[in-house]
Structures are given as C-alpha cells and as structure tokens.
Symmetry: none
Subunit: 414 residues, 2 copies
Amino acid sequence: MKLEVVTIGTELLLGQILDTNAAELGRALAAAGVEVVRHSSVADRPETIRAAVAEALDRTGFVITTGGLGPTRDDMTKREVAELLGKPLELDAAVLRSLEERFRRLGRPMPAVNRTQAEVPAGATVLPNPRGTAPGLWVEDARGRVVVMLPGVPSEMRGLLADEVLPRLAARTSGTVVRSRTVRTTGIAESALAERVGAIEESIAPLTLAYLPSTDGVELRATAWSLREDEAERRLAAVVAQLRDRAGEHSYGEDGTDLAATVLEALRRRRARLAVAESCTGGLLGARITAVPGASDVFVGGVIAYDDDVKTAALSVPSELIRAHGAVSEEVVLAMTLGAQQRFAVEAALAITGIAGPTGGTAEKPVGTVWLAARFGNEARALKRVFPGDRNEIRARSAQAALDLLRRLLADKP
Amino acid sequence: MKLEVVTIGTELLLGQILDTNAAELGRALAAAGVEVVRHSSVADRPETIRAAVAEALDRTGFVITTGGLGPTRDDMTKREVAELLGKPLELDAAVLRSLEERFRRLGRPMPAVNRTQAEVPAGATVLPNPRGTAPGLWVEDARGRVVVMLPGVPSEMRGLLADEVLPRLAARTSGTVVRSRTVRTTGIAESALAERVGAIEESIAPLTLAYLPSTDGVELRATAWSLREDEAERRLAAVVAQLRDRAGEHSYGEDGTDLAATVLEALRRRRARLAVAESCTGGLLGARITAVPGASDVFVGGVIAYDDDVKTAALSVPSELIRAHGAVSEEVVLAMTLGAQQRFAVEAALAITGIAGPTGGTAEKPVGTVWLAARFGNEARALKRVFPGDRNEIRARSAQAALDLLRRLLADKP
C-alpha cells in the first residue's frame, strides 16, 4: 500500500519548526507496511493546500494531511479538502457536544470560533481526539480515494495515528511491511566502505541499500519493501550478515547501537573501570559516555586538560614532553592515558589531544589533526587522524574515534 | 521571488532522520526575501526524483534540491536532473583536481568511485564545497529555469547555501524581506514568560511573535513579513527592545547568542579564568564551553567527578560532607566549586551535581534534582532546580542553568 503525506503550515516552510510529524508518520507507516512515496509541505494558503492534496491524490489515491484543523483563520485544510472531494461541510452534533463538554471540564466558556471545529465533510468518519479540540477526519470519495486529516499538534497527531488511523490501515494492507536494518561502521570513509561492500545492490534486490554518513561514521541501511514480515526479516538478516562481514573490523553494531554503550558493556564484562583525559574535546567524550544510563558502574570520571598546565599538574604529563613534541603528539597523548589510569586507579583510560580549529593549525599539524590513545592494563595504542569538518564535527569525530580505539583494543584481547 | 525545495533520501520518508535541511533552507531563504512555496521529499528512486523535480520546475521555474550527490549508487540526483534538463554529464577537470587534492591532504588514496563526483551536467556552474567531496551544482536550461543541487550532509549544505547560493539569489530578488529576530531567555517557563510579556500581539502587527521553548530556555521570536529591509529592521528593533525589557533578568541575549560565549566574554573582560567540576553532566558543561572557538584564553579545564571518590580525591570534597548531606546537596556542590577553584588556581568555577535518571531518584530527591554552584573570587552562589525531561534534557538544562548562575553573579558585580 502506498500513500502521500501533506503537512500544512506556513511555519514549516519558513523553517521555524522542524517537521517532526512527517518523520513520525514515515516511521509509523513503514512499520505498518505502508510506503510513503512522497511528502509535501505547503503554506496556509487555500489554493496551495488544494493543489497539493489534489496532486497527491491523483498519484496514489490516498493522502494523510496534518495541520490546519484549528479554530482560527489560518486553519483551512478541512474546507479545501471538502470542496476538492465535492462534500459540503455539515455541523456534527456529536462533535459539538464533545467540544462543549471539553470546555466545561476546563471551566471555560467555549469561544464561538470553536463551533467551526464541529463542522465535518458530509459522510466523513470522525476520529475522536481526546487530547485536543480538533477531531481527525477520514473522508472517502465516490471513486474510493481517501483523505485522512489529522491535527498538527504532535501529541494529538501521534495519538490519533496510533488509536484511529493505523488500525484502519492494517485492515487495508495485505500483510506486507516496509522494514529497515542498519549496520553501523566507523573509521572508514563512505567511498572506501562502498569499495569494500562492492556492487551488491542487484544481488539483494528488491531490498535496497543506502549509505548514511555522519560524524559517528557511515551507516549501511538495508530496507525491505512490501514483503511479508517473515520474508522481510529473513532477507534483512542475510543482508546484514553480508554487510557486517564486508565492513569487517569497521562495523561496531547494528540498528540503534551506541558505540559508547558498546564500550561500557565490554568493560563491564571484564569488571574494568574507565577514566578519560580530554584536551580539544573539552568534556565531550565524558558527556557521550555518561549519556548512557547506568554508566556509573564503569565510568569514574576524568580530567578536562584544556590548558597545558593542567596536563602537567593533573595528569602528570612531563612538561619536557610537551616542549619537545608539542601538546598534539603521540608522546603526550600516551602520557595522558597513563596519567588518567594512574590518578583514577582504573584499568582503562582514553585520551584525546588535537587541533579543533578554526585557528591553531600549522603546515605540519593542520586543523583537524588529532591524537587519540586507549589504554587497557599495560597495553596502550595511539592513533593519529586528520579529520575533516568544522570545530564541532572534528570534536565529535574525535570522541567517536577514541571510543573505537578502545573497542578494538578490547576486541583483540579476548 | 518564489521557488520549491525537493529533499531527496529514502531515510527522510521512512522518518529515520529529521529533515533539518528543509527547515534550514526555509529560514535562510525567507531571510533573503525568497518564498519557499512548497517542499517535497522523495525516496532515492530515479523516476520519483525526476517527477518531483519536473513538477516543481513546472510550478515555479526554480528548484533547490538536497541529497543524492554522494559517490555511491543510491546517489542519483545529478544524473536524473541532467537528463531532465537535457544536459549530458561531463567530467570537470577542476573538480577532479580538487577531489584528488582533498584526498591527498587527508593522506588517503582516492577511491575510484569518487571519480563520478567530478562529473557535472554540461554548462553547469560548479559551486565549490570545501567541507566535503560533492560540489554543489547550479544548472539553467534554455528557458531560464534553474535547478540548484546541494549535498545532503547538513554542514555542507549550510556552507554552500551561505557562500554560493544566497549571494546569487540576492541578485535576483526585488526589495522586500522576511526577517526574524530573537530574544533568548532562560530560567523561566513559557507560561510565566507569556504573563510577563503580556498580550502584545495586536500592538506589534503586522509583525508576529512566537514562543519557542527548548532545553536552553524559551526564545521569543518576532517576524516581519514582506516589508522593505529598513522598515523591517526598524520595527524589529523596537519589538526586541520591548521584549528584552519585559523578560528582564531572564534575557541573556539576542539571535544566535550562546550563553557559554556570553559568560566567556564576561570573564575575558575581567581577565579571569574558569574551571569546572561536573558530576551528572559528565563533561557536558566543559564540552559546551569549549565548543566556543577561542575558549582557551579563559577556560583551563576541569574535573569530571562522576564517582564520589573522585569528588574527594580530585576536588578535595570532604567525604564526611558527602556522607552527611549526600552527593546531591548544597554543601557538596559548593565544596566542588571551591575544590575546582583552588586546584586549578582560577578566579571562577562552576559545579554541577544531580540525578539525571532514569534511576537513582528518591522521594526527597526525585530524578531531575540538580544542585548548581558558581564561584567568582570569594563569592559563591548555589541553586537547586528540579528539571523536567529525560536524562539528556536534564543534563542539557543543568549545563545551561550553571552558566546562567555565573552570568548573573558576574552581572551583579560590576
């Protein structure tokens, strides 16, 4: 089953709010086996709303709209859709009663303007909305084409979708689903990963493959379209295994896996504790680690050694080392992990020192140059990277790369 | 001037990522006086991409696309747009050289697959993208219709938009602008702020006012629509002054102001240096401070004292204090700032200790309970807050509230 989504609201086109409704509809509908083939956003203008809904209806015969169902002048979705489908608006006595009841409960008189919310296109199914004043509407025309109108307030949209829309759609779909699974990789560029994975697109059809790069690395996302659930799961499992195999040591997990959580779990299994020493990331690595609920049984803390004097005083990095090699060097980053390990009396330590920019780069050490080190017991590894991107991206990539260095060190020590 | 935006990527329709590019384009284009009349999202499928761009081009004659310019097989925007406009793809020697140069700088061989990124539609203007491998493309057909293709990576899209697209659009627009200005507040709830601001909506028309809450606080955004630039600026300045006056001590800046940058600047003026001591935020406060370029002349570093033993050993918080009052207490947070101030020999220190959840709450100290402290010279202030939200929201609100505590302490000491 295919449909289109039309989200309505001038604030969406002006970018003043993010269109979370579109994303939420996409997720929930895919999970229910419904494919959203296009999503459009239009402003609160009658002719634009009508044109967008009409075109979407011509393409797929099924449209879900959000927004424009409120009581004020800029709410015009219902009127336009009713005219488009040739259905007059009629006052619905049950909706009016429930509106009046709602205002009575809130202890306020119902403003006259809210009366228009009780008008519905002739023959429409009213979808009750206990979370707000605007009910959802399910309208079908003589040719069997459907427009479902939902309010734009995210919590109301979400409630109506789950309670009223998805169950009705389930009755129409033929048992197929749209489902995705993801292999997460890090430490390898998109193009290099593509060479490793090779041209598997044809061999996995009708599943599709997408490369999604971010500062955490590149996600490989396989999607099964319009298959039965068991068939989709079976084929996705095979593709995921193939992708993990080809991504090799760069793959650290699947789907929602967070690298920090993975590393914490690997340490927890060894009853080991972790401390950090951060220069250019300034606390970002610690923040990532402690974003994981329950981090406290593994993570004890760390030193933010932004100033070189702090590296010396709090991490016992010899000042001659900094003078001889510079603060961004293999020698210093290794001394930082050693200092963190000893000061906090832990088995595992991570350190980062680098040049996040925008200034501070040199010909020899350009902006983006970062030294990372991981230490576990008496084994340590250091790695130099030159990261692309702006200050924040370089810092985010550094934290991820440090975690990955420790993940690999632990993986090699069974 | 009117145009349409088409964002391309299956992950958008599946709701796996939020379409921040569409919102960012909407904001930036409105500010430049360009109206986005429709935004569409389509999956990575050749026929759908071509249909969406063709229809948008028929309606407005000007389309901006994002996504589908990478080196892998799911990147097909360039090919489809080239065919739609009847322009063959040709290898651009300059783009190829800059790609090869980029890989050389990163010290990696260029994978063969990246070569396709040097192909451009015949006659296209190449928009250089120093932040990534895919350049933007500006293609005009014989009828004067334009398609601008931008990469989907948000930082690359943003850079190309500012550096290459907006200046070219400015040359085409006709005098009026859509412009917004923002007053940033923190430490006050949306409804309490609304009571302070009062019902000024009618008096500021045709400007509009929106309340935008986030973990940083509530932004008050005034927007002027379709006015000449000088008139828009004049009226916005008056409204901003009025809003700042009513928000009072809760207002810390305007527009893009970051509270961390404001605090760093206030300390810099006093030639004072800053250190932090973080428990539940685990480095997030340090990360926020060091996200500000040039933080190093003020910020020296800090201690992430996640474990109570670290509070004692690294910050000299007496263990009896923790036993008597608990780690989340006024006594301990004040001792943490004192420890940070003394250990790092700085004038200013901030400390945070709290219960970010999801577990660890008690009846007396529920999840969200956070003690914050700021110290400057021999003056210190502590503040208890009980923040709403999940673990990440509580941590983000804590970092913002700690910064605001120091901002106010400094503001009261001229």
